[in-house]
Symmetry: C2
Subunit: 312 residues, 2 copies
């Protein structure tokens, strides 16, 4: 697999990023992904600041290779996370949600590489103006929180590539080597893979959530809670109630009440498959096996090479 | 550009299909696409049976190469169209909407190649069981009528490829050679391109609709009327009223009243950019020039070759 600008930027072997995912990617998964030549990301958005420090140190004890942290800007602990990330000398920070201006300067001044997640070409240009080193272009098919304009990976990737000069990392819908090759064909410099790593041995989520991902077919997710923050979930009891409420025209306040608090933890970490939020991408229909992170990365690379041979 | 199973099936030079589009693809566009080595399709869904016959004969007067007809199964004139298609000895029929069982046997018995449009792997398998020769896998980003499960091209194409043995034609989000290469990387045997041909010299729609497509940015379309038949439109006055009604939880009956009759003609053929339905894909943000159909096909091929060289 050919090296790209993304490999140079992060100091990694392959242009593959394991997405930072709440309740899923702690130090164990991130270190396994980095150790296998990709970039592992710790998902800070479900941790307390002290737990983030614990996971960073755990990852460092498991690999000498670079790994990063994903920091959701609107997370209630975000501000407290910044000094921890800086003290622990994390080389790469992915920020998501909110304005790319919020933390880019502070992290860049400390020598971090900064990447921001975008869902439109317009936002990608704002990220470039804010001084980030690269952008993630994340399509409508992605799991978890999602943009309001519903641009899919197929149309988002080339338009972000045309809109900015900095490297573009494609995300949303990629679970095998065909997807990696398609993203590179559309102009991406690398890929961020989330859902596929949920069904990894090292993911810290509940085993029942992993099984739910294996069982989910291609038509089993939906983007809901659009007037709050749109989120793609497996269609379980909770998701169907949210879908029904939206069809009935429920207002923001009543959706917020329906959602309540702690549903992501309830579903993904505690394993309540009926009432919890089960964040996963449309690509779940292509995920049928729990694998070690290193094997997932190996298969992405092998599948990519096989696809290039097929394209001939 | 390498020949694929789709070239053999249709007797064409390049695995590119110009989508059959209401109010857009008459005999002039279809013959131009076929004459340039692709497969042109006449969109029967906005014609009277006699007008279809007129367009078929017009196309035949303009090219000796094969072209086809797209027949929306639920169209009120569909049944009357069948004998005309058979009498005129059309070699390829694309059916869309409704059950693939409806007409496949009749067309196959008469020697036609039959293709059905699908939006899920499950429906693709039903098409194969019904005896069609190929399927179109059309993603959420596509313009016009769309599936309810909202699967995007990026996840739909490989899952349909894995689900069936017959050739798979990718549709939705393809307007340049990068998109063609990505679709082939995901396993497709060919591509169906719609929106890009709306902005062609030979398209029969209103010039002001073509200009609206050039002006539409990447965030300017939305999928609306989901409880009727979901349709992707440019966000004009009518589309925004439909979006607002859906946010308020409008029922099917009131959406149907809001839609009324003849809005597609009003927008795309009569050129009422405020009140008509303007059916176009998310890829409209990448379309900036009205070109002859032959030049569009030339650029798709050149861009595909350039992408393969880039993939190296």
């Amino acid at each position: 697999m050919r090296r790209t600008r993304v490999c140079e930027l992060f100091g990694i072997d392959y242009p593959i990023i394991q997405a930072g995912m709440i309740w899923v990617s702690g130090g164990r998964l991130a270190s396994a992904a980095s150790e296998a030549g990709a970039l592992g990301l710790i998902g800070a958005g479900s941790m307390t600041p002290e737990l983030l420090r614990h996971h960073i140190r755990k990852a460092r004890s498991l690999t000498a290779k670079p790994f990063g942290v994903n920091l959701p800007i609107l997370y209630r602990h975000a501000e407290e996370m910044v000094p921890i990330i800086l003290e622990e000398k994390i080389p790469v920070v992915f920020t998501s949600g909110g304005s790319p201006k919020t933390y880019t300067r502070r992290f860049k001044d400390a020598g971090c590489v900064v990447v921001h997640v975008t869902s439109t070409p317009t936002l990608a240009r704002k990220c470039e103006d804010a001084g980030v080193d690269a952008v993630v272009a994340e399509g409508f098919e992605a799991g978890g929180h999602n943009g309001r304009d519903e641009l899919t990976s197929f149309v988002l990737i080339p338009q972000v590539v045309d809109a900015v000069k900095i490297p573009v990392i494609a995300a949303g819908g990629i679970a095998d080597g065909r997807g990696v090759a398609a993203a590179i064909a559309l102009g991406a410099d690398g890929v961020q893979v989330g859902s596929r790593f949920v069904a990894s041995e090292e993911a810290s989520c509940h085993p029942d959530f992993k099984k739910a991902v294996l069982n989910a077919g291609s038509e089993d997710t939906f983007l809901v809670l659009k007037s709050l923050v749109p989120v793609r979930l497996i269609k379980n009891d909770f998701c169907r109630r949210a879908m029904d409420a939206e069809t009935r025209g429920a207002r923001k306040e009543s959706l917020s009440e329906l959602l309540g608090h702690g549903r992501a933890q309830l579903g993904m970490y505690d394993g309540d498959l009926a009432e919890g939020e089960l964040e996963i991408g449309q690509v779940s229909g292509m995920i049928n096996e729990i694998l070690p992170a290193a094997e997932i990365i190996h298969r992405l690379r092998e599948g990519y090479e096989a696809t290039l041979r097929h394209l001939g």
